[in-house]
């Protein structure tokens, strides 16, 4: 058998990723055991990835996957039943196989995908577990791929996912959308997990060639969510925020992987198409009424992205948006960004004064970013010795290598001017 060309391979992979949550939804719905269905679908996906490139994609790929996965579930249940002597389950499940494959063609799987997403982002799970489970169950990634993306051994990731599934099982949530009165809260949990997934990818800009890029995966999932609940302003806001942030990706790091801050980036390298899409989304979302935190953050990103240069940025507008955001959430990082915006509008002294007040917040007192910001503002105010001292303190405290290198360079540069 000749090796299939990479393009076919990529097409098959995309198709499998697209179908994964639909197949899992169908299988879970019918067998009622999410954990078993999830394992079975993972096996079916691996089987398809091995066979389709050589044998060709079956006429009805979704039905094929549901059939193979269902067979695995039945095998699993049989084995379990033999162990536990629960014959009645077999009786009800065995004839279901044909039914399963057939029923899967009935709807487009959209509702099931949404149910899965909400389930995987269950508030009972830690964010790290929810991200991993979402990537596997909804994103259709293999455990090995997820492990690589997080730079942990595969066995560690397998364990994390398996424990997450057990927690969901133990919580006894039915495979259905949450009740109306819980919907807002559960959707917020989904958005939070996807936001963290995006940040994980955005922050870990290591030189390693991970095939799976967490930021892109988070965007793909939010896009999918946006298709499923097109009228939700915060879903739109989050998608816009990701697009507007990711648009700067190419300009964000230098040739050696070093960090380039927003004001020093080559704006010609920003992705204009992504910016246009993000701006259009946030513009459509904002007038819808109840403005949420993601929409505000997206609006701030949009102001940055639309500015022709750092100096020409509309800082008064950014300050106003941060003030709104600050009223909405008691987040120390928002408060810090608000102080920066304040300094940009009213001068470094105003920003430093605000910073002094913020440093009293226990959550910020030891945070390296306070020192980094103080360094920036002191440098702007012309106090180079003090600026240097704070850059170095920040460098000592950060746990990110690119950030530490950046801060060290900032401090060193002040010696040479």
């Amino acid at each position: 058998m000749s090796a299939p060309d990479p393009q076919t391979q990529a097409q098959i992979e995309r198709l499998l990723r697209e179908l994964a949550p639909q197949v899992l939804g169908a299988v879970t719905r019918r067998c009622g055991d999410f954990a078993a269905a999830e394992d079975a679908v993972q096996q079916a996906l691996i089987a398809a990835a091995e066979r389709w490139p050589g044998e060709g994609v079956p006429e009805e790929p979704r039905a094929w996957l549901v059939r193979v996965a269902s067979r695995r579930v039945i095998d699993h249940v049989r084995a379990e039943t033999a162990r536990r002597r629960r014959e009645e389950l077999v009786v009800s499940l065995v004839p279901a196989e044909d039914q399963l494959a057939q029923a899967a063609g009935d709807d487009d799987g959209g509702d099931d995908t949404l149910v899965l997403l909400v389930m995987c982002c269950h508030p009972a799970l830690s964010p790290a577990s929810a991200i991993a489970l979402t990537l596997r169950a909804v994103g259709g990634l293999t455990t090995a791929e997820i492990a690589r993306a997080f730079l942990v051994p595969e066995a560690t990731m397998a364990q994390r996912i398996s424990r997450a599934k057990q927690s969901i099982k133990a919580s006894g949530v039915p495979f259905a959308l949450p009740a109306a009165e819980q919907w807002a809260e559960r959707l917020a949990a989904v958005l939070h997990v996807l936001y963290l997934m995006f940040n994980e990818g955005y922050a870990s800009s290591g030189p390693e060639l991970t095939r799976v890029d967490l930021s892109s995966e988070a965007m793909r999932l939010v896009r999918m969510l946006h298709r499923l609940v097109p009228d939700d302003g915060e879903v739109m806001g989050l998608l816009a925020l990701m697009l507007l942030t990711d648009a700067r990706r190419a300009a964000r790091t230098g040739p050696a992987g070093e960090l380039i801050p927003l004001d020093e980036q080559d704006r010609g390298r920003w992705d204009r198409a992504a910016i246009a899409e993000g701006v259009a989304l946030v513009t459509a979302a904002l007038p819808r009424g109840a403005v949420g935190a993601y929409q505000l953050q997206a609006a701030i990103a949009a102001v940055h992205d639309e500015a022709p240069s750092a100096d020409a940025t509309d800082w008064p507008q950014i300050l106003a948006l941060y003030s709104l955001l600050l009223q909405m959430s008691d987040n120390p990082m928002v408060a810090l960004n608000h102080a920066i915006a304040l300094a940009m509008v009213r001068g470094p002294a105003a920003g430093l004064e605000r910073l002094d007040a913020l440093a009293l917040d226990a959550r910020l007192a030891e945070h390296h970013r306070v020192d980094a910001v103080r360094g920036h503002l002191l440098e702007r105010a012309g106090d180079r010795a003090a600026a240097q001292q704070h850059y170095r303190r920040a460098a000592d405290r950060t746990t990110s290598t690119p950030e530490r290198d950046y801060l060290l360079m900032k401090a060193a540069r002040l010696d040479e001017r």
Partner: protein, 131 residues
């Protein structure tokens, strides 16, 4: 066989690299990046991590109740672990060679730092005596 190469840097103020001129810092960072890349390319790199500064470190001991007692930083330490590499090599001498390269990372004015690198074999399953 796997070896852990641990890089120690003298105390006396965390990250003295912070006092270097810009170009020396740049050269040092570039060296470390290329070093990791070369080890990856030779197929010998298992893992490498730089560690956060000693400001972030805590000493932990179990108390009589088994609960952790954390202590601040280590003010008395003469040097601290700054980072490590785990390499998979076929003989100990190769691990020493790699350690020597890391030790000679450029410092201020491009002069080799000659930092102490502690080389420890990583425990593994017993080796086949016929090997």
């Amino acid at each position: 066989m796997k070896y852990m190469l641990m890089m120690h840097t003298p105390a006396g103020g965390p990250y003295q690299i912070a006092r270097w001129p810009q170009q020396d810092i740049q050269a040092h960072i570039a060296f470390m990046k290329n070093f990791a890349k070369a080890l990856g390319a030779s197929g010998e790199l298992v893992a490498a991590e730089g560690l956060a500064g000693p400001d972030q470190a805590r000493r932990v001991q179990a108390g009589s109740d088994g609960k952790p007692i954390t202590d601040g930083v280590f003010p008395e330490a003469k040097e601290f672990l700054a980072g490590y590499w785990i390499v998979d090599v076929d003989r100990p001498e190769r691990a020493y060679e790699i350690a020597a390269q890391a030790s000679a990372a450029p410092g201020q004015g491009g002069k080799p730092l000659n930092l102490v690198i502690e080389v420890r074999e990583v425990m593994s399953a017993p080796r086949d005596p016929a090997e």
